[in-house]
Structure formats: structure tokens, C-alpha cells
């Protein structure tokens, strides 16, 4: 992939599905510029975390003279084609609403690969923390029967790139449901802060019952900057008998060594329509004081 984004630019990955209307939006929330705490926050982080001078100076500049937001994106189809957007959408200031109909964008650009990963990135994060998330972006999925979606922040930290060592990834979905009407799935994104990232990964998934017994399965390969979604029946051929004693309920743990992933929990109906989706959240963030 080309260098669509710069390293400091916060970005996030949004799965695009072929059988729904995919709509992306972002509202610029008020920015806290006036308090002394905000004004001093770059200095505090510089002293506490030893950030490079350039980041410190950028943070100071943006606290004092914040630029409006601009957004851009690159779309990686499920078969690996790359569709970069050279246009910057903006400027957006407090209270402005950025909206993008992905399906219309695909039609306008002659893109037939309707499923893929949309990497959206902003020109900056919050004014007091340039490499942070500027807020939450929404993706809404609708079809004839269902409405689903999620909102998530952007990230500018190094992920799956040289110089950043990841012990590994562990993603838990504690609320798996598999019955005649609903089937849970796992959607894993092999993301990176480096546009040139080129490593495919192959996680392992375990399906647990409340009694602690589990089935294990290879998730399969995920290409760089792409996602793969697999349902519980696709991953575990014996799921029905295994989950029968607990009413089709269990939980999953996906794991991978040496790399980190983004993950979503999906729920689809008996015909494969997307019913619900949510991004996973790291449990340690509730416990660890990050500086």
C-alpha cells in the first residue's frame, strides 16, 4: 500500500459489507481549549512520557492554533485491491457533520468489490493531544430488515510495525449466541499503523462452554490491512452438539502471538443478514493507568 496516511494521523478500520447500505459519519464535538489543564497538557505529557520534541511542539501548536479537521480514506477490497482517495474531505469545525455513503462512492468510482476494509484517517487528533482520537466515527449498516453499526475512536499509536513489539493479541467475546435465529461471528482486522505493512497472520480461536470445556480452530489467514469474518459454525463443525448443553451460549477467545489485531463481534440471522456488530474493548484499559 502507498503512504496514504502519515504516522501521526489518527486512523481507524471500518468493515464494509456487500449486502447492506454502509454509511460513515463523524460529528466534531466541542474541543476543550480554554482550561489551564488543557493548555498545559502537552508540557505535562512531554515531561511524564518523554515524548519527542517534534510531537511536543506539534501538540503546543495545535492547542494554541487548532486546525479544522479533514478526513480521507483508503479502501482495501476483500480480494486485496486498493482504492485510495486523494481528496481530503473538510474542513470540519465544532458542530460540523462529515457524512459518506460508501455504496454511492463505490458506484461513482466503478468499484465492484463491495466487501472490504475502509481505513479512514484524520489530519489530526484533539488539539491538546495531536496524536489522539479526534472523536468517534460511526458506521451504520442497514438493509431491508435490520439496522446495525458501531462507533469507535481513531488511533495514532504504532501498531504492527517495526520498532513496536507486540506480545500478542487476545480477543474475547463473552456473549456468543448460536441458535436457529442468531449466529455469532468473529471479525478480525489485521491492521497496522504502517501503510507498507505486508504480513499475513493466522490466529487461533477457542470456543468455550461455561463448564470450561473448549473446541479449538485455526481462524485462517488474514491479509495485511484486511479483515476476515467467520461465524461460529464456520469455525467449529461440532458447535451444535458442543453448545447444546448450555442452550447455544458460550464465549470465544481468539489469540495470536507477536501481532495485534482489531476485532468485532458480529451477530447474523439465519439467512446471514447482519443483525448487530460491536468492536471489542481491551479489558486491561479498565485496570492499567496509562501515561
Amino acid at each position: 500500500m502507498r503512504h496514504y496516511w502519515k504516522r501521526h494521523q489518527p486512523r481507524t478500520n471500518l468493515p464494509v459489507f456487500g449486502d447492506v447500505l454502509n454509511e460513515v459519519s463523524f460529528v466534531v464535538q466541542p474541543e476543550r481549549r480554554s482550561s489551564l489543564r488543557v493548555l498545559l497538557s502537552p508540557l505535562f505529557r512531554f515531561m511524564a512520557r518523554g515524548l519527542p520534541w517534534k510531537i511536543f511542539l506539534d501538540d503546543c501548536r495545535h492547542v494554541l492554533f487548532p486546525k479544522p479537521y479533514f478526513f480521507s480514506f483508503v479502501y482495501i477490497s476483500s480480494s486485496g485491491e486498493e482504492y485510495g482517495v486523494h481528496e481530503k474531505f473538510g474542513p470540519y469545525r465544532e458542530g460540523d457533520f462529515f457524512y459518506l455513503n460508501i455504496n454511492s462512492w463505490m458506484v461513482a468510482n466503478g468499484i465492484n468489490q463491495k466487501e472490504g476494509n475502509l481505513i479512514i484517517f484524520a489530519n489530526r487528533g484533539r488539539p491538546d493531544r495531536w496524536q489522539s482520537s479526534p472523536g468517534n466515527v460511526e458506521i451504520r449498516y442497514t438493509n431491508q430488515k435490520y439496522i446495525a453499526g458501531f462507533r469507535t475512536g481513531f488511533f495514532a499509536r504504532p501498531l504492527n510495525e517495526a520498532g513496536k513489539i507486540h506480545l500478542g493479541y487476545r480477543g474475547v467475546n463473552p456473549g456468543v449466541v448460536c441458535n436457529a435465529a442468531r449466529v455469532s461471528g468473529i471479525l478480525l482486522i489485521n491492521h497496522s499503523s504502517n501503510p507498507l505493512y505486508s504480513t499475513s497472520v493466522s490466529p487461533v480461536v477457542r470456543l468455550y462452554r461455561p463448564d470450561g470445556q473448549y473446541l479449538e480452530s485455526e481462524f485462517g489467514s488474514i491479509s495485511p490491512h484486511s479483515f476476515v469474518e467467520k461465524s461460529i459454525p464456520q469455525l467449529f463443525s461440532g458447535w451444535k452438539e458442543f453448545l447444546r448443553p448450555c442452550g447455544g451460549r458460550g464465549f470465544t477467545i481468539a489469540s495470536l502471538e507477536g501481532f495485534t489485531l482489531a476485532s468485532m463481534h458480529t451477530v447474523r440471522d439465519e439467512r446471514g443478514n447482519l443483525v448487530a456488530i460491536e468492536h471489542s474493548r481491551p479489558g486491561p484499559a479498565n485496570v492499567i493507568k496509562f501515561r
Binding site: L21, E23, S25, F26, V27, V28, Q29, P30, E94, G95, D96, F97, Y99, N136, E138, R140, T142, N143, Q144, K145, Y146, I147, A148, G149, F150, R151, R170, V172, P174, G175, V177, N179, A181, R182, Y208, P210, G212, R249, F251, H265, V267, D269, V275, A276, I277, E278, H279, S280, R281, P282, G283, P284, A285, N286, V287, I288, K289, R291
Partner: protein
């Protein structure tokens, strides 16, 4: 003393996380939680207790459930199975069976107040309808006045949309009012409304059609609208949208 106050006092290191729930008629809300403490602290036998306290829209406690969760295992807490017929806010903490402050071999600093991550699954009968992670932590301070913007894009599959306000803080005092300004993409105000602010631990669901008489018409005309919400908000509101089929989607902004 409420259970929320009692457990907050008993476990000062832990801060309740909150989320909206609904358990009226066939609707159910199910908390799912995975005990991650054992792997985080590298203490293999570290079980925990998940304490879930359900409040109705008026902020009254209508159910409390304490679930033991073995290390590396998950638990589900269904409002309907607890016999709750209400909607409102649930406050949740997971308290490990051992004092985490006594663990010596950890390579990180522990937050001053440990929150709890969980997911909320919304069901209609046995069919899961929507899912969302936990939202704001429960605090003890009086909410400050602030502004939140919510964007709305017309979609012909959406029959109704609105906001869910929760007030996850324990305070006494005047909740004030919440002011709404409906603006089009050019920033021109096309409607306004106000409601009473939220008292401690209460929940309020409002549809845009209830707030603005002209909402349906201006949404079709403008396609994009922005709602400016001004008030003493302890938490950002959730948005809700109802599909013409009856399906719904609730999410944080």
C-alpha cells in the same frame, strides 16, 4: 442506603461502569462479562464477583445480582431472568476475590479507580437485536453544563430515532434543563426544545419527533441535521434508531 452507595463504599478502589438496559415485555438486556483479572495480574486462581445493580427510569434500584466468575470464564446476567420489568441504567463492577493492591509482580500502575468492561446484548424474545459495550463510569459529582452534537442522516429504513440520556452520578441538587437546537447542514436553527434535566441515576428516552414537531419534514428536506444538546450532562447521550421492520439499534456517540 442504596446498594450502589453501599458497594461503592465497600469497594472504594472500584468504580461502577454503567449502561442503558431495557427489560419490558419481550425485551431483555443481557450483560456478558469475561473475568480478565487472572491473566492481567498473572494470578491463576483469581476469581471475581460481578455486581450488577439495575435502576429504573426514575433512578430507583429494582434489582441487584451478584455473580461469582471463575478465572478466565464468562458470565451472563439477564434482566428478564431476574424478574425485572423496567428500563433504565445498570451499574456494574467486577471485584476480584483478592486485594489487587497486594500483588507485587506486576509491571504496570493500577488506575486510581478500576472500572469494569462488559457488553450489553439487547434481545427481543430469543432473538438478539443489538449489542454494545459498557458506557460511562458512575461518579459522585454534580454534572457540569456542556454541549454535545449529534448528527442525523436521513435513511428511508429508519422509522424513528432519538436519544437516550442516562445520569450515572450520585448527586443531590438541581439538574437544570436540557436544551435542544435542531440545525440544518448550513447551521440554521430549524427547531428547538427543552426538557427537564436528569436527576441522579435516572434515564430518559426522547424521540426527535416528540421534541420537534417538524422533525420528519425537515429531515426529508435537509437530509442531514445536527442536534445541539446543551445541559448538565453526566454522560454523553446514546442514540437510538428504529428500523421500519421493528429492529432497533442503540449506541453511544
Amino acid at each position: 442506603m442504596t446498594n450502589l452507595a453501599r458497594f461503592s463504599q465497600k469497594y472504594p478502589r472500584y468504580q461502577f461502569s454503567s449502561q442503558f438496559y431495557t427489560s419490558i415485555n419481550d425485551l431483555d438486556s443481557v450483560i456478558s462479562f469475561f473475568n480478565y483479572y487472572d491473566s492481567l495480574f498473572k494470578v491463576p486462581d483469581l476469581g471475581c464477583q460481578l455486581i450488577s445493580i439495575f435502576h429504573n427510569e426514575d433512578g430507583a434500584e429494582v434489582g441487584t445480582e451478584i455473580s461469582a466468575v471463575e478465572p478466565g470464564m464468562s458470565v451472563r446476567v439477564s434482566a428478564r431472568e431476574l424478574g425485572i420489568q423496567a428500563r433504565g441504567m445498570v451499574a456494574v463492577i467486577a471485584v476480584p476475590d483478592q486485594d489487587i493492591g497486594s500483588f507485587k509482580n506486576i509491571s504496570f500502575d493500577i488506575k486510581d479507580r478500576v472500572t469494569t468492561g462488559f457488553y450489553m446484548d439487547f434481545y427481543d424474545g430469543d432473538r438478539l437485536v443489538d449489542t454494545m459495550h459498557e458506557w460511562e463510569p458512575v461518579d459522585f459529582i454534580s454534572p457540569r453544563e456542556r454541549v454535545v452534537y449529534v448528527g442525523i442522516k436521513y435513511n428511508d429504513r429508519v422509522s424513528e430515532s432519538g436519544l437516550v440520556f442516562t445520569c450515572p452520578t450520585m448527586f443531590d441538587g438541581d439538574p437544570g434543563t436540557i436544551l435542544f437546537k435542531l440545525k440544518n447542514e448550513l447551521g440554521i436553527c430549524v427547531g428547538s426544545a427543552k426538557i427537564k434535566g436528569l436527576e441522579s441515576m435516572t434515564t430518559c428516552c426522547v424521540s426527535y419527533s416528540e421534541l420537534f414537531d417538524n422533525f420528519g419534514r425537515v429531515l426529508v428536506e435537509s437530509s442531514i441535521l445536527i442536534v445541539e444538546v446543551i445541559g448538565r450532562l453526566a454522560s454523553d447521550p446514546l442514540t437510538y434508531e428504529r428500523h421500519v421492520s421493528g429492529d432497533f439499534h442503540v449506541h453511544h456517540i
